[in-house]
Subunit: 503 residues, 2 copies
Amino acid sequence: MWLVIVYLLFGDAQLVLSTVSDRYENVINERDTLFKKEIDMMLGSDIVLSDSEEKVNEIIIELKHRELDTGLLEPGQFNVSKHFFEYKETIKETNLFKIIKRMPKGAILHAHDIAILSPDYVLGLTYSEKLYVCFEEDDVRFLFSKDIPKDTCGTRWQLLRDARFSSGNVEKFDAELKKYFTIVIDNPEEVYTDINIVWSIFQDYFVRFSGIISYKPVWEKYFYDALKALRDDNIMYLEIRSTLPQLYDLEGNVFDSLATAQSYKDVSDKFVIDYPDFYGVKLIYSPLRLVDYSTVKSYIEIAKNIDNKIPGFLAGFDLVGQEDLGAPIKYFLPQLVEAGKYLKFFFHAGETNWNGMSPDENIFDAIVLGTQRIGHGFALAKHPVLIEEIKKRDIAIEVNVISNAVLGLVKDVRNHPLSSYLAQNLPVVLSCDDPGAWEADPLSHDFYVTFVGVANRHADLKLLKKLALNSLYYSTLKDKDKIIHEFEIRWIRFIDSILKGNY
Amino acid sequence: MWLVIVYLLFGDAQLVLSTVSDRYENVINERDTLFKKEIDMMLGSDIVLSDSEEKVNEIIIELKHRELDTGLLEPGQFNVSKHFFEYKETIKETNLFKIIKRMPKGAILHAHDIAILSPDYVLGLTYSEKLYVCFEEDDVRFLFSKDIPKDTCGTRWQLLRDARFSSGNVEKFDAELKKYFTIVIDNPEEVYTDINIVWSIFQDYFVRFSGIISYKPVWEKYFYDALKALRDDNIMYLEIRSTLPQLYDLEGNVFDSLATAQSYKDVSDKFVIDYPDFYGVKLIYSPLRLVDYSTVKSYIEIAKNIDNKIPGFLAGFDLVGQEDLGAPIKYFLPQLVEAGKYLKFFFHAGETNWNGMSPDENIFDAIVLGTQRIGHGFALAKHPVLIEEIKKRDIAIEVNVISNAVLGLVKDVRNHPLSSYLAQNLPVVLSCDDPGAWEADPLSHDFYVTFVGVANRHADLKLLKKLALNSLYYSTLKDKDKIIHEFEIRWIRFIDSILKGNY
């Protein structure tokens, strides 16, 4: 009798236990399956790491996890969710940044030509001979000239050299001057309160030093030194966007856009001779979007002309400027459909917070016009139909995380839609937009911020390598095998050097 | 001869023209197709509007577009991308808000019991008899008592009535007191600088007035009045989350969680008798997550006990508190798998900015545990595999936009991932979380903010109706046909009244 009871009791108990334990096992298995599916889906999951790469992976994962685990407990300590201006220097001191800095990062496919170098570099340019300055209320203009410029000036034109030395305090003078060459300030959250305000200051920044930069010798020097900075940041190739402004010289010559393009071609050729390990430059002609039909038509003629006169140099065509306020792509559909017969497109589209408005609907137009890549695509996350479309057509998204944060689209980069693009294995290329304007390194800061602040905690060296490879794969280079082969050689060298502790 | 030339010229021209125009037509068609696909996919697209609804739709669309179009040009004027505290009163004056206020909104499926009513209401409670107060440095405690409480107090316990009248300035006294019953402040961006800070203040808010609210007569009055506020906001049904704190009375009785649940049941029964157009309440028992295994086990026993003793009242079980710092669901997997045999789950999961960390990976566990709905799911956008899973299993996401903004997850609601959930037609239920804590109406503010700030510009009355219907459809109510039928009746009445200009 007791035996029966004992049997029943324990038999039942065992039954219950085994049922629970089966259920538990099912739940665990299901969780593991979903988790594995997620890991296998994310961008970079197709990369297979060698033993050496696995060792480097352990190093960087440990560094990354330390940042994240501290951040989880003390979010105020998590650098990359703060404003970029606050942490851009701090992170440079980390080992993870140093490793990323040394890492071959492939190409830069989305950058604007005159915002690559730092304000310190631009300040250095103001030491050039024959540079005149006109200080006006809250602003400044520059001009290279043989004699005192005849352009109007609210105060007076003087040689910058004279102004500097008569200031009595060169250090202070230079510090004040430097402020004009950066949008970095101490209190961005108080000053840059909405996107139009920061864009307006950002645009002033470009206008302001146009007098310096569009002086042909400076233009060429800046570009040469920009390429040097890219090479130092372990970039091997560039597709540069330019409005191709008119350049000038001391003789009163004014050069048209074709000449400006030619000047880029010449500099890039010279650079490749000087540094044969650099794979050169292509041009995306990207004039301003806030214009009328006939201007766009003339832009297109300029592009065609460049393509004829400098064969092989032009990658294609784009329109630039704040999308929220500029003309949407659809205004120029007839002109652009026609132009599509001759030109490839690399449209900025969806660099906006809006949803169902002209700037995010630019993505529709970019896609149907057959754009090769999409510049930014910040708003793409709101358009699942377009996500399917870019997957189908294999259109790369040129994502610029720091730019989007600095220019007011997203406060905490953890909310950047790139996190979902990476998770979905979308064709992403990481880029930098205008690193000089916010004092970032050409590409290392964007890689660091993406790796630590945007990507999944489990994303590792495979993601970094994939992002670098994507920048080559989605470039317009014809012979990709060659550059990818060279990339692999450099990558192995990088892995070995990290394993030797060189960072 | 000339004729031939003319023919060739115009013939060619025509050919080119017609080619371009074919290309152009293709591009336009493709654009239209993609656009239509997007419109047809978004949440609410399956709703068919009657003629009357179409007319109301025109009214609300015009009001919404006016806001958006102004915002595009002057983002500083766009209310809902600012901090909620800044615009919560302003928007109440708009016709769009007034219409949404009158709109039947279905049910509230995600709200915490003691954060529904405004600080003004709580201030009113402090006029109750026998309420003692202890003012300490920067904080305050309350207790109902027959005599001076014996609980320790850094200063002294006094009747609140006495403190108020001896203050010499009742208005000032009340204004100071009210600050304890809200997390609304003038300078949130300076004070609430990270998520832990705002959460800590938010949690203090709950602790602080526990002495008032857990006095049984007040507890029941608060809940009755909360139901009234819901009804006034055109809500017809509620699933309330509660930690079921111990209640007390003047006789020294302390009531356990079961008694607290019973008290909710009694109040809700009384309310439904008083207001038969209200469809009642179910309870989601939601104790704090920052506990150990054995405590979770005892929670589960409490839940089972409630379900036995008050049949039909318990909807299910959840764990609450800041996910970033609390124990993740996976810690309690064995206990919860076992509990899943008896209880339905409604887990908070992914109320976080992190990616690949414990709080967002709570979504994995919630899903494999068979959760009925997901509370928040803010991080779901980063987990496409889980998005597919919740679609497959038809698990609703209880989204609380304003809560996520106020509690530090997202600054500009245009970046809230709900925009992509709506675009993808995910099973979304809109809710409010703790509207009293940030002085929002029970659900109208969340509907307004979602409609104007989160949803696509082309989203219209169909979305609003669908969101309201979803809250009924994804409720645990058994007889959904009945409540949906009643909803439809009220909806028609609403449409008619708006057409008569009653807003």
